[in-house]
Amino acid sequence: MTDLSHIRNFSIVAHIDHGKSTLADRLIQETGTVKDRDMQAQMLDTMDIERERGITIKANTVRIEYTADNGHAYILNLIDTPGHVDFAYEVSRSMRAVEGSLLVVDSSQGVEAQTLANVYQAIDANHDIVPILNKIDLPASDCDRVAEQIEDVIGIDATGAIRVSAKTGQGIHETLEAIVHELPPPVGDRDAPLKAMLVDSWYDSYLGVIVLVRVMDGVLKKGDRVRMMSNDSLHLIERIGVFRPAMEKVDELGPGEIGFLTASIKQVRDTKVGDTITSERGGASTPLPGFAPSQPVVFCGLFPVDSAEFEDLREAISKLALNDASFSYEMETSAALGFGFRCGFLGLLHLEVIRDRIEREYDIDLITTAPSVIYHVHMRDGTVNDLHNPADMPDLTFVDHMEEPRIKATILVPDEYLGDVLKLCQDRRGIQMDLTYAGARAMVVYDLPLNEVVFDFYDRLKSVTKGYASFDYHLTEYRQDNLVKLSVLVNEEPVDALSMMVHRDRAEARGRAMVEKLKDLIPRHMFKIPIQAAIGGKVIARETLSAMRKDVTAKCYGGDMTRKKKLLEKQKKGKKKMREFGKVSIPQEAFISALKLDG
């Protein structure tokens, strides 16, 4: 039990690559929390994908003990939050568990779109904020300009910003002192009934579900019987501890403290993030304000390339879902792709991360269908249905109108690429809401349809700005628009896996691009194959793949028999890997490539 005045709880807000994880590493190292020999880069990013992509996906926590220059010992609890928009909900709930934030800005780059999104969340959570100008060792570092930008764009005082090089260690001591002196201690009452916020939970194969908690009032002890206030379920606390960053058991967690508990909970789904944990007897009567649960916004089908791997895929997906309550899935059957799963994600990065983990950790090759969003289908009878999958689009005669989700997108981009960015946003049916300058960088705010963004928007943005743009978004509302289902027919048969929802005005261009691409991707057959894009029964684009004209072995004598037969058998095997569609074999590659359209 630590005196509240000697506790500081904080998070770090930063854009990707601005050095958040490296700064966290330095704080851990400087305070001797981890022995030097156990230190590895990006200590808190435990997944391979996190280390590889340099991103943080799950919030991570570390307890740091620090003796300040004033001679007092402090406990500093850092919750390291994800920097990407897809994981914004993780950021927001982590923010609610701490009292202050370090705002880390790369002094050679300046404020970026995600810096803005996350810092606003910190401000919303009433955090005190300490600005930090990182990477001052870089030649391009320009602290004065960036400090000014922080004041202009974000509107917080940056005169006392700490200048840091997390790489060389310069400014780390000053950062620790600033955490102690500039961030407020938590408040709480040790004698009040227990109130602990369930911040996060995940599955550990040895310990079962681990619950990350922030104690607000009261004391949490091993052997306590506690109640989850959302569903009144009762649990016996088996283990209590803190992260340093490895798990370390403690006897109790008092007010203001952050740590973990285990209580024989089987599934992550049995815990509700934002829930209040209290004592079984004499517990709190009112819960803490909860969090809005995270909702998947992007959907796509995941199918095994080898249909024999369906059961393996089922196992992989259910294991991943154990640990990621934000990811939803249900079985899907596609005429083209066989058995698979329709999965919901928080965003495209989340989709990519899950897909990569399935392919890598479970060694299953996947076909991913076109990402889709949730449309609201207003039927003529007055009912409203959610549409996750274009294949489920009801007959148009019963549909009155449709609505699609819109987002507010913030893009920061060097002036020279602004024209291309505006064009891209206009092409994607965007409506410009704001355009301001912060130094040589333009900040544009667009109202965009989410379905245009899930479809390779970020890739296009990176390519037209040579990677210099930063981008963030949040969902705003559903709005009515002229949306249609674009179907693709190969040899007169609809290929459900390639169908997609598009705006009517974009349908011709999309359809044309799709059929042209498919024409190159499908090998010639013994007969000619029409490839069509259609809206309902109306064909809007058509290509014809002409029949194979010649494929015959010129010479085949006694000595050739074995070799030529093996060749044909090998080709036949290759054919088996294709998807049979009516009489047409479509290679896996075609599905993957056809869905990667440009423009």
Binding site: R549, D551, V552, T553, A554, G559, M561, T562, K565, E569
Partner: protein, 395 residues
């Protein structure tokens, strides 16, 4: 369902549907052609007497496994077997005749290059017992012959053909088309000219870039330009069929054309899936022993093979072919013939019918047709025969 014993009996005698032949591989050439992926080598010195002894020893070996058979054909392939001493050829033929009973109409073919050296030996080969030659003419103009890496001229070829016709009852020659920068009109004219060089049999091969050849290397590096597109290749093949038909040469196999009765009987053994023993470096065989059919293959490096004859066995480990593999081979070879294949024999070999749905589908597409109870590829089907066979291959 047939009983196992009668199934055995069927497999033991299946080869009799097509007969029994002997293939002799002579692995040496004067120069290696850049398109050729056969087992051929350029050697400075050849110890002919050692090679004769080796072939005769091999003949004894393979004959001991195929007693009581009638030998229908002998084929000398290569390499360039016309570079053999006619005496060597004669010794092999005589020994074969002493080891097997031979058919009255025993066909003995020798592949020959139309160079002057070889043509000078034609009489000798005839005396040794050869009754059919197959000349590698390949093209009828010198620039194209040079591009194909051939060392003879068009005039040499005409001369050699003349000598061959005087020496042998049956003469065939090969042409390669679909060459670099060849036009459809150019090929038609060349083929018509070739058909005036009276011959009862002609093999017309579309140039194929085979792995491991000099052409394949050049092609991979972006060289070897001007090869025909798939469409032009198809047009050339169609023109080939039309012109040969006009000259009463039947397209009895994908690339082979003959007056009725002049077909290569040895090659028909392959396409009808008969048995053949193969001797010499890299020679393949198909031999049925105790109702099992084996694929045999000899060591391909000439010096290693020659050494192996004296000390060890010359064959690589034999592969026993499963009923399904035999059915697949029968299918792959049989569909090359214009007469096609007998589905009953396919069933007898593999124990399973040809996939009826697939056959019907391919018939509906116009790729296959039935003729006298045989399944045959149509002209259209023959142009894409690999695709047709891929559909039908079992397993």
């Amino acid at each position: 369902m047939r009983s196992p014993n009668s199934q055995q009996a069927v497999l033991a005698d299946d080869w009799r549907n097509a007969g029994f032949g002997l293939y002799v591989h002579w692995p040496f050439c004067q120069a290696k052609c850049p398109y050729c992926d056969f087992n051929s080598h350029v050697a400075r010195e050849i110890d002919h007497s050692a090679w004769v002894r080796a072939y005769l020893s091999e003949l004894t070996r393979v004959a001991s496994e195929t007693q009581n058979r009638v030998l229908n054909t002998i084929y000398f392939g290569g390499g360039t077997p016309s570079l053999m001493n006619p005496d060597t050829t004669g010794a092999i033929i005589d020994t074969a005749k002493s080891l097997w009973r031979v058919a009255n109409d025993l066909e003995i073919t020798l592949e020959a290059n139309p160079g002057s050296v070889e043509a000078g030996r034609f009489a000798g080969f005839h005396d040794a017992g050869v009754n059919r030659v197959s000349l590698g003419v390949q093209a009828l103009n010198d620039p194209d012959l040079r591009r194909l890496g051939r060392i003879h001229t068009a005039q040499d070829a005409q001369t050699a053909l003349g000598i061959a016709r005087n020496c042998f009852d049956r003469v065939s020659f090969d042409l390669i088309y679909g060459r670099q920068d060849q036009t459809l009109a150019g090929w038609k004219a060349e083929l018509k000219q070739a058909l005036t060089l009276s011959s009862d049999h002609i093999s017309l091969y579309q140039l194929t870039i085979e792995d491991g050849t000099a052409f394949a290397d050049r092609f991979a590096r972006g060289g070897l330009t001007g090869l025909p597109s798939e469409d032009l290749g198809a047009d050339m093949y169609q023109a080939t069929l039309d012109i040969c038909a006009d000259h009463d040469l039947a397209a009895y196999e994908v690339s082979n054309f003959a007056n009725p009765g002049s077909e290569s009987r040895h090659n028909l053994i392959y396409w009808r899936y008969g048995d053949y023993v193969g001797i010499g470096p890299g020679a393949h065989g198909r031999v049925t022993i105790d109702a099992n059919r084996y694929a045999t293959e000899c060591i391909s490096a000439p010096d290693k093979w020659l050494a192996a004859v004296n000390t060890d066995i010359t064959e690589l480990p034999r592969q026993m072919l499963s009923p399904q593999e035999q059915a697949n081979e029968f299918l792959m070879m049989g569909l090359r013939l214009s007469k096609g294949l007998d589905p009953a024999r396919y069933l007898a070999l593999g124990g399973r019918e040809l996939d009826r749905d697939k056959v019907k589908y391919l018939c509906d597409l116009g790729m296959l047709t039935f003729q006298n109870n045989n399944i045959c590829a149509t002209t259209q089907g023959r142009l894409v025969l690999n695709a047709v066979i891929r559909e039908l291959l079992a397993g």
